[in-house]
Symmetry: C2
Subunit: 231 residues, 2 copies
């Protein structure tokens, strides 16, 4: 089979997001509609923290297998975006402040013994995917970032509107991600398009992105089941 053109390939990737990114998940729709209780919101923030602290770990696994120093130099920015540097606060610390804004302590967030099993399995599966798969597929699994800006800009507006008890400074994580993501997305798209040369590789990238959508979706399933109001 002939490879997809760049445009066809990108359209296939974007179709995955339209069909199964977690913006469609009922728990997310309830968040945006203002229907979450404080306890549900806290449950989400606390469990999603386990995902956040694992992002630099999965990115470090990708770092171990990128082809050369030039690609590592670009990828390493993703790790410092989350871990921060001595000068600049990172995404993990910003998520701690979101946690504090919903009434969680730093210690509660870092006590990962209380992470829901379904969340742990999903996040660990994501880290393992990046540990074991070829780097191209591991990189492709990060492409849910393509669909994040729309969701994040709506989230900042809807959360401020519907959850007045939540100090809006707690939303700094989302605001910063919005400024970081355009460069990340251009980097991911370029890297994947330049290196997925055969149709087989392109299809493996599409499957990697589907897998990652499943990770995010399953995380919300677990939170909804444990904390969600009965429908």
């Amino acid at each position: 089979m002939r490879p997809w053109s760049s445009e066809e390939f990108e359209a296939e990737l974007r179709a995955v997001g339209e069909a199964r990114y977690h913006h469609l998940h009922p728990f997310n729709e309830r968040m945006h509609a203002g229907d979450l209780t404080e306890e549900e919101f806290r449950g989400w923030v606390r469990n999603r923290f386990y995902y956040q602290i694992n992002l630099p770990v999965k990115d470090a696994f990708i770092l171990t297998k990128l082809p050369d120093a030039a690609e590592r130099r670009k990828w390493i920015k993703r790790i410092t975006d989350h871990d921060g540097t001595t000068e600049v606060e990172g995404g993990i610390e910003r998520w701690v402040r979101l946690g504090e804004a919903v009434g969680l302590t730093r210690d509660e967030l870092y006590d990962t013994r209380t992470v829901l099993p379904g969340v742990r399995f999903a996040v660990d599966a994501y880290v393992d995917f990046c540990r074991h798969k070829p780097w191209l597929e591991a990189v492709a699994s990060a492409m849910t970032e393509l669909f994040a800006p729309d969701l994040l800009s709506r989230r900042i507006v809807d959360v401020q509107k519907h959850y007045p008890w939540l100090d809006s400074r707690g939303l700094e994580y989302f605001r910063t991600r919005l400024t970081q993501q355009p460069a990340d997305i251009a980097h991911l798209l370029g890297l994947v398009r330049d290196n997925a040369r055969t149709r087989e590789q392109q299809e493996a990238c599409v499957r990697a992105l589907e897998f990652k959508c499943d990770v995010l979706w399953t995380l919300l399933d677990a939170v909804q089941l444990a904390y969600g109001k009965a429908e």
Copy 2:
């Protein structure tokens, strides 16, 4: 068994270097005495390059298992020291310039198919050690850096003295390492001393350092056998 004191532990680690660091290897002694032919020098630079390009890879494996963002923020400097950043040239690029100073092209250095099997096995064993072992032992294996400053400062002097055909700008790698290493050594010593709390952990660190000395020693064995003059 009671744990060693900090002083005893550091003395045990330093004793490993005195007994088996590669400054004692006959090939290294011949380098410093001015006895290497141009071909031998090139053979060493070319094969050691395989070690150099694998340093950020093994450091990225350590990054995947360090306990938190604070430790990753410190460790990541080791990766950028070798890979460089968009602004600052890294150690790999400086080693390429050493290669060019001894008459190798960039393409020859990066053509890793020509790496000697014994060098490949030793370097791959080092990367695998950092992939599979607990982070404390992987970190301890980096402590050959404790013994490097003495060797590097002598190397800069001896190479300039004995190998006038080698453009001294090619030695920038060693000069830069000399400036980087004091901070690296303090970081490594602190991290290992603070986390090796039991005698068992301390002894595992000593064994990790012995293993690493074996890697460096075996690398020179392979180069000596392939390129060395008959004794």
